[in-house]
Each structure stands twice: as structure tokens, then as C-alpha cells.
Symmetry: C2
Subunit: 312 residues, 2 copies
Amino acid sequence: MKKSQSSQASAASQTLRHFGEDRLIAELMRGAPLGKNVIAGAGDDCAVIGRRADREWLLLKTDCVIEGIHFEKSADPRRIGWKALARAMSDIAAMGGLPRHALVTIAASPDDSVARLKAIYSGLKKCAARFSTGIVGGETARSPDALFVAITLTGFVEKNRCVLRSGGRAGDAVFVTGRLGGSIRGRHLDFAPRVFEARWLTENFRVRAMMDLSDGLGSDLPRLARASRCGFEIFEKKLPLNTRCTSENALADGEDYELLFTIAPRDADSLEKTWRKKFPRLPLTRIGALTRSHQPSTINHQLFPSGHDHFA
Amino acid sequence: MKKSQSSQASAASQTLRHFGEDRLIAELMRGAPLGKNVIAGAGDDCAVIGRRADREWLLLKTDCVIEGIHFEKSADPRRIGWKALARAMSDIAAMGGLPRHALVTIAASPDDSVARLKAIYSGLKKCAARFSTGIVGGETARSPDALFVAITLTGFVEKNRCVLRSGGRAGDAVFVTGRLGGSIRGRHLDFAPRVFEARWLTENFRVRAMMDLSDGLGSDLPRLARASRCGFEIFEKKLPLNTRCTSENALADGEDYELLFTIAPRDADSLEKTWRKKFPRLPLTRIGALTRSHQPSTINHQLFPSGHDHFA
């Protein structure tokens, strides 16, 4: 038996717990039809649809939150609604785009109350209104147990402001917005997606690669670097930490929903100066650099701890 | 206390089981921001996005299937994947449109096998390829228990071929494709969404109102009639029944995924004749007519039994 066949056979008999999420998506998407006019498909924060000649491109995102996984049963339902939509907006922001239209699917138990669903929608509407987004479709389904909310979100981005994960170059300065770690203490339910900040960035600077931090810097930075065919180095002491957080929290907790991006090193000083004037209350931190891919990726020469894997 | 306040208060304390799905969606969507360039929002088979001056409009659909609700745990996973995408395609077809790009979110237990997810994707890819649709995004999430598959599907439709539910007029002939009832015996997992049939219809006839039959004629025809501000009458003996099905099955079973549409009565004969030549193996049946809204809606003067409510 050839090696490739043997690894395929063993892959098929494995459970998700031991497989690894990125590898799973790659396996699942293999051989999938891509369709026409696809600028970026699975593997970036959003799908990007358009023709090279278009001035604007369509962004597509789907995402879901599930009771017991992304929120506790006892969570304030308005915050559940906010979180469900804000997560998808964070991905639209990470492409440099603006959100436009949302569709919502809620699956709930027949014994759930109308009041709870109305409160979830109240959070959804608040988030939609805050970011000038329409809610243009709603579906309900019966769930056997856990409540879940699935979101479809469209957006648009001007072709010359669309930022993929893959545009980073060796030597680029790596930045993050905000502070990292400890989101589980509550911020994961009412974070502000960095839509306005990302729009300002792509209007004023040539952002080369960008993504949002959902699984933790320890998972997400390697993804960005890999997409850009680079390595990276991180200055551990520079990591902007939330109160009572260690750098381990910053790397592995996940759900920060901050922007991670790279720009040319010559633009870094100018960015830091103008950012402080524009967003005085939101830190922007240069945490490291992209390196050539054959150099080992490091945080101060320690092995890089990985972030959150959904099935582990 | 005013009547509207009192009914609102009692609504909030109710469970979904006793509330009614259409009323629930209406309650949830109340006050939702609609956004720009929305031709049709929640309440039709798809959202329709565009400007009046555009030649083509964007169609948006979200939908999901859940283990234990829409399929049994033991169901062939390839058929689960096919069904998940085909349901959304059926809604794109019901607008007169063609599907374009799909995104998939699968939530599964960590103890689920990679093989099962790959087989689900195999069904998704088969359906996508059959209808020239790209799969441009895949997300995975952990589910506490039941597996679910959420689909986002985009499509497009030429402005002059877009069919809403609301365009029917009193006197219109009402048609359905295929045969109704008994889908639970297996057809609900591998039905063919009527994409090509709907495209042929909108190319060759002025279809006034259309939707797909997902909850059963008994629920769906009243929805179409209400959206068109009409009543209806149905000739019960004309209902095209699947083998071993009664008219009760045809009205209430649901999951037929056939097209329900209306055209001007003067076009009906010509439609029936040309349809038989074009689609000799798929029945097309004139089952009744739209009536003026103040006339009682009837099936041969019986009260109209309702179809499937997801929470009842």
C-alpha cells in the first residue's frame, strides 16, 4: 500500500478529537467545486467573490454559536445574539470590508420560550444597527436539545482595500489591536468587532495580511504566516495582556476578536503615531515580525504554544 | 392594559411549541434593520438584494439540517450532505434563480468520525457539482450532541425573471410539480431541487408567484395566498399523490421540495402542453386557483388542514 493511501485510510477511521481542525477542513474541501468568480475561497476569514475588473467585491461569511460550547445556557440572551452576529462581523472586518446583510437561523427546543428568542434577536438587531447591517432573513428550526444560532453575513470591500491572509512578506511588522487573553470572563459575549478600525487601516495604510483573532494568537498567527509562506518571531514581553492574564492566556485562550495584521516595517512608526490620535483608547501593539519561512518561528526562542482547537 | 400589550406579554411567556412558526418569525423580525438595496427580505424563500436598475439581483439563503430532526443518526451521510444543500437550492429555484456559491458550517461531536464528515461533504460536493455551484467556505464547530449542517447559499436571478410569493392574483391557476406526500419514506434525503424546471418556467412563461413546498401544501399554499392577498380553492381529487399516499399526506407531510406556482389562467393550457414535451417524466398538475381574499379558502368545501409546524 502506498503511503498516501495508508494515511488516508487511517484518517478516515479517526475521530475529530484527534484530527486537527485545519487538516479536517483541508480534507473536507478537497475536490470541492469552486465555482466562478472566486477571489478567495475556504481558508481565509471570508470568501471573496468578484471579477478582477470589478471595483467592489462581495464578501461571504457563515458562522454559528452553540449553547454549551460558545455560551452557557444561563447567558443573557441579548449578549448571545450580539455575539453571534459580532463574530461574523469580525471576519468581514478582517478582510477590510463593511458588513451589509445578515440572515439568521435559530434552532431551539420547543420548550424554549418566545421571550428568550426575542431577547436573542434584540441583541442581533442591536449589533446589526450599530454596524449599519440589514437583517434580511430569518429561519427557525427545532433543535433536539442545545440552542444554536447560525449567521450568514455578506459584506463588500473595494478591490484595492481587500486584505487576505496571504499577502504578508518576510520582514513585515506584526501588529495586534486591543489586549489579549481572558475573554471567557465575559468579553467574548460583548466584544466590539473592529469594523471601523479595519476600515481606517485599509484607507490609510497598505495592510499586507490581516485576520481576526478567534482561536488565540498561538493558533492564528501560524495560520497567517503559513498563508503568507513566512515564519514569524514574537516578542513575548510585548504581548498586550488583559488584566490578570499571562502570555499563555494571550496565546491560547482565544475569542479575542482583535485584528492581527502586518505592514511594511517602514510604515510602522507612522502607523503607531496616527493610530494613537485616531483611537486613543484602543491599544495597537507591534508584537513581532514575519520572517523567512526557513527560519524557525519563535517567541523569544521558546517553542510556540498553540491556541484553541475546537475538537481537542 | 391595551389589548396589544396584553397579547404581547402573554406571547413572551409562551413556549415555541404553542406559538406558531410564522407568527414567531414576524415577532422576531419586528423592528429589525433592513439595510440598503433590499428587494425582498425575510418572508420569501430567499432574500433578494439589488437595485431596481440592476440587470441581475443577488439571492441569499440560509438553512440547516439537524440530526434527530431532519435526518436520523443512522442516515447515509452522503444523503445528509445532499439534502442539506439541495434544500437551499430548492429555495433559490423558487425565486426563478440559479445557485452560485455555498458555504458550509458543520457542528459535530468530537467523537464523530472523520469518515462521516467526509461522506457528508461527498454528498454536498455531488449536489454542488450537479448544479454548477461552488463551495467557497467551510467552518467546523464542536456540537455538544446532535450533528448539524448549516448552509449559506447565494444565487442570482435576472430582474425580469425574479418571482416572489406576493405576485399572485385572484383567478390565477395554481400548479404543482411532481407528486406530493410520503417524503419521509426516503425521498426527503435525495430529492432533486427543481432548479432547471424553474428556470425553464421563468424563461417561457410569466410566473406570477412561486415558492417551494417544504412544510406541506397545507401550510405553504396559505402562505403564498396570504403574501398575494388572495384566497384559494383546491380540487382535492386533482392532488398528485405519491404511491400509498392520501390527500392528507399531500397536504401535511411536508418535505416535498416541489414547486408551487401561479400563472394567468389564459397561459395554463399552453403551459401544460409545452411542459409535457419538455419534462415528460415529471408531472405538472393544475390543482386549483387563487380567489379573492374575502372568499373562504377551500378544498372542496372542507376546512383546509394545515401542514407541518416545526415546533408543534
